[in-house]
């Protein structure tokens, strides 16, 4: 990663007429503070200048106690630089949408506004994202979670489920002046304004929350003309359980349990992102063996996670066999993970400072035995589904994300690489011990569903390759650094990202010197993938819509947090 020259950025902003303070902050890199009213101008200038900050990594808020900071995390892939733009808002402010500059902001803006009690202007679909009407702005510091007494007195909670109203009404600020819409990516199918259920002459169909192939509790409202999708709107939040808020009341060693349950099929990666961010702030040096163990477990977990995508991908397209063949492999894999970490899914294995347990010799033998059979099974599976002509006819040329749109929607990971962008955090921002390994980053140009399948399959092969290198060259030493039981990192701010199976899983951590995080932002790659999937639903048949939503690999625990 290049360090951004702050003077250049300042010059760009000045030319756009923005009064901004640009500085370099430890743990974050370049940070730029702009006045709230000039955010749009600043972002537009940064996007269109030579700096080329055309990729919105994340958008979120931080309640500082006096103001609400809205943070835009920008990345320039051409110059390999990063920049954080912060804008201070009041508690009753209106957030001006930047979705026309960065379509990736569509859902994060809705989430930020409802979670901090702000209003939204200029947004095509300004509904609440995760919660229903009447919910508190949970992420404000003034709001407390339930106390121990309230939790213990479980009987006192009363739910009248029959009378629940789950409408999520608009957050729009009617009084705010409409901002001028700037140019959108040409390939964007249409403005993702949701489905007008009141006035539609067509069939309006609810798909989900209970549907065999929505991968959890995703709800998609489809407007259908015959079998063709005219408009699609995803409704999420059916699994919103406050991982970000609860992290503010957990000690640093315990946040891992929450991260596990975010992306629940790739827990190691969530834990690792949080541990890396904590280590950045606390300045903990991690032993080399611990880093290698993190890579080992991370890659084993990546295989097991891609299996949960590959099997259901077969189910979505109607082939039952895939699901069962891949889950046979996953059982063997979970045995290994269980032996090392003690749990099949929720590992809490990677902690700030290292990992919990060292690897056992039997586990090592098990991994080697697994890889032997896995190589054969993987090729069999790949041939069985990917080689099937019906599957190819179903997936080739369907749901194409071109390069520009993929970047605009903030796609990361395999989804982005399937659209021809060669970007992998493991290689381009090496963390743990990835700079010591040899592996290829698969890239496909087509951008269709089949390309996404190809990329993920090749990633599974590469993961096996990394695991082999891990076993062969595992260094001796401690598996964890000496870290206090109750960690109290100094006040600070850091961003750490890992390449999770779904893409860039980032943790933006703010600490205040206490034993709990002050604010923990979980960058959910699946949420960004969901937006892209939603935008490309129109024009497909129902059957293709199902496969399309499956192909971007959604984990609703991560989308809703």
């Amino acid at each position: 990663m290049q360090q951004l020259d702050t003077t250049v950025a300042r010059g760009v902003l000045e030319r756009a007429g923005v009064t901004a303070a640009v500085e370099t902050v430890e743990g974050l890199g370049a940070v730029c503070r702009v006045p709230a009213a000039q955010t749009r101008a600043a972002l537009l200038a940064l996007r269109d200048s030579d700096l080329g900050f055309g990729f919105l990594v994340d958008l979120f808020g931080v309640d500082t106690g006096e103001t609400i900071d809205i943070v835009y995390n920008l990345r320039s892939l051409t110059r390999d630089e990063e920049l954080l733009v912060k804008a201070e808002h009041g508690y009753d402010a209106t957030l001006a949408s930047v979705w026309d500059i960065f379509p990736a902001a569509l859902m994060p803006e809705r989430e930020t506004c409802e979670m901090f009690g702000l209003l939204l202007s200029g947004h095509p679909n300004p509904k609440r994202l995760l919660t229903t009407d009447g919910s508190e702005p949970f992420l404000r510091k003034s709001l407390e979670v339930r106390t121990a007494e309230e939790v213990r007195d479980r009987a006192s909670q009363h739910v009248d489920a029959g009378a629940l109203d789950i409408t999520a009404s608009s957050l729009a600020d009617a009084s705010a002046p409409a901002a001028e819409t700037v140019a959108l990516p040409a390939s964007l199918p249409r403005v993702p304004a949701g489905v007008d259920v009141e006035h539609s002459q067509n069939l309006v169909l609810n798909m989900g929350p209970q549907h065999p192939s929505t991968h959890g509790v995703l709800r998609i409202i489809l407007e259908l003309d015959g079998e063709e999708i005219v408009a699609g709107e995803t409704v999420v939040g059916y699994l919103h359980r406050g991982i970000e808020k609860l992290a503010e009341s957990r000690r640093f060693n315990a946040v891992g349990t929450l991260m596990d349950r975010g992306d629940y099929v790739a827990g190691i990666h969530g834990e690792l992102a949080f541990a890396l961010a904590t280590e950045k702030i606390a300045g903990i040096e991690v032993p080399r063996r611990a880093n290698w163990l993190r890579v080992l477990l991370g890659e084993l977990n990546r295989i097991s996670s891609h299996i949960v995508w590959y099997g259901p991908m077969g189910l979505d397209s109607g082939a039952m066999g895939q699901f069962l063949y891949t889950f046979r492999d996953r059982e063997a894999l979970l045995d290994i993970l269980e032996e090392i970490t003690g749990q099949r899914m929720m590992f809490n294995y990677v902690r700030p400072g290292g990992v919990v347990n060292d690897i056992t010799t039997t586990a090592e033998a098990k991994i080697r035995a697994f890889l032997e059979t896995y190589d054969v099974y993987l090729e069999e599976n790949a041939e069985l589904l990917m080689g099937n002509e019906i599957f190819q006819a179903r997936t080739r040329g369907v749901g194409i994300f071109d390069r520009q749109t993929a970047l605009a929607f903030g796609l990361t990971g395999p989804n982005l690489r399937a659209s021809g962008v060669n970007w992998d955090i493991r290689r381009d921002r090496p963390y743990a011990a990835y700079d010591e390994f040899e592996f290829d980053v698969p890239v496909a140009e087509a951008g269709d569903i089949y390309a996404r399948c190809q990329v993920r399959l090749e990633e599974m092969r590469q993961s096996a390759r990394i695991v082999r290198q891990c076993l062969d060259g595992m260094p001796e030493g401690e598996h964890t650094a000496k870290v206090a039981k109750v960690l109290r990192p100094p006040a600070g701010e850091a961003y750490a990202a890992v390449e999770s199976p779904r893409g860039e899983l980032g943790v933006h951590l703010v600490t205040d010197g206490s034993d709990t995080p002050y604010r923990m932002r979980y960058r959910p790659p699946a949420l960004y993938a969901l937006q892209a999937g939603e935008a490309f639903l129109p024009g497909n048949l129902i059957a293709d819509g199902v496969v399309l939503m499956g192909s971007v690999d959604l984990i609703l625990g991560e989308v809703d947090r």
């Binding site: 069939l203 169909l205 549907h211 065999p212 192939s213 259908l224 015959g226 079998e227 077969g314 189910l315 979505d316 397209s317 109607g318 082939a319 039952m320 066999g321 069962l324 063949y325 046979r328 069985l384 589904l385 099937n388 019906i390 599957f391 006819a393 179903r394 048949l541 129902i542 059957a543 293709d544 199902v546």
Partner: protein, 336 residues
């Protein structure tokens, strides 16, 4: 004997066969899929889970029958009748042996196609009357698949009729007796294009993977049967399995010599003819199930394109070619 009494007895035989087939095939499906999928399948209830389906049926019988408020009541109740009765009538013309035919109609094949064409009407009624969007889409797909399969299926069978010179299924079986070149059974399966066309359109007809449009679980929840519960659902399901059996039975009759064993004179086979027929049919069912366990599903527009841009032109052409071959006397397989 009174013809009405005979008719009633034969009805009971067909009904018994249909019910037993349903129970056996559901068990077989679960076992075959399980074995294909490296699982065990039903094991606990009875030896190797043999009574699993019996328990399932008993349970369905004693489930509450929910009739949603919004349904079209008459059609909703009529739909199980419309799917089950024609499916039962399909058993009428199947020749299980020389004499074991419920009604050896001279136009048996056409009768078979005629009654089987009614079944989609029942599923359409079920889907439409449910007043449920998933059911509606499933129902519309049923019509789409009927539009696709029927013409190629009739044309493929036509090629067989030309070779046998009869529409009676018994005659078609008889025309396949004997061997040529000394060892090759004189089965119509050597009419390979007709067989392939018939098999593909039959898969569409019986709603099997890769053409399981109407029930497409990963897309349409349970398709046309989404709102059906209890025994009404059981009957819809029974008819579906019965249709698969009938398709396989017809396949055996038209292309694999029906109840005949090659190289064995027909008179000797007679005592065990029904068993031979059932074994052949179940082998066909096994292959259909194996396809179901592995194949992805085609999209509905792809299915229609396949039907009209491939199956139909090829089957039309093949009928003409069969005609020429028969006339030229270069017929490789049995004409008369």
């Amino acid at each position: 004997m009174n013809p009405w009494a005979v008719a009633a007895l034969r009805f009971l035989a067909a009904l018994g066969l249909m019910l037993v087939n349903g129970v056996v095939m559901i068990y077989m499906l679960r076992k075959v899929l399980a074995k294909l999928h490296v699982r065990m399948g039903p094991m606990d209830n009875g030896p190797h889970g043999m009574f699993q389906t019996v328990f399932d049926v008993l349970k369905l019988l004693t489930k509450e029958d929910v009739t949603p408020r919004a349904v079209d009541k008459w059609l909703y109740f009529l739909a199980p009748v419309i799917v089950v009765v024609p499916s039962l009538m399909g058993y009428m013309v199947l020749p299980f042996s020389r004499t074991a035919v419920i009604a050896d109609l001279p136009y048996g094949l056409l009768f078979f196609f005629a009654v089987m064409a009614v079944v989609p009407l029942g599923t359409l009624a079920a889907g439409w009357s449910s007043n449920n969007k998933w059911s509606l889409i499933g129902a519309m797909r049923i019509v789409g698949s009927q539009v696709t399969y029927e013409v190629p299926m009739l044309l493929a069978a036509l090629s067989v009729v030309m070779m046998a010179g009869s529409m009676s299924l018994s005659d078609i079986v008889n025309a396949q007796s004997g061997v040529f070149l000394g060892f090759i059974p004189r089965w119509f399966v050597w009419n390979v294009p007709a067989f392939v066309l018939f098999f593909i359109s039959g898969l569409i007809e019986s709603g099997q993977t890769p053409f399981d449009m109407a029930e497409a679980e990963s897309e349409l929840v349970s398709g046309f049967a989404t709102e059906y519960s209890s025994m009404k659902f059981g009957l819809l399901f029974l008819s579906e399995f019965s249709n698969t059996f009938l398709f396989s039975a017809l396949l055996v009759t038209l292309f694999f010599g029906g109840w005949q064993i090659p190289w064995v004179p027909g008179d000797l086979v007679q005592p065990i003819a029904p068993f031979v027929f059932m074994i052949k049919t179940y082998i066909g069912i096994f292959f259909i199930m194996a396809i179901r366990g592995t194949m992805p599903r085609v999209r509905v527009d792809q299915m229609l394109a396949l039907g009209w841009k491939f199956l139909l032109p090829v089957s039309l052409g093949w009928v003409m070619i069969t005609g020429v071959l028969i006339k030229l006397g270069h017929v490789v397989v049995g004409s008369r």
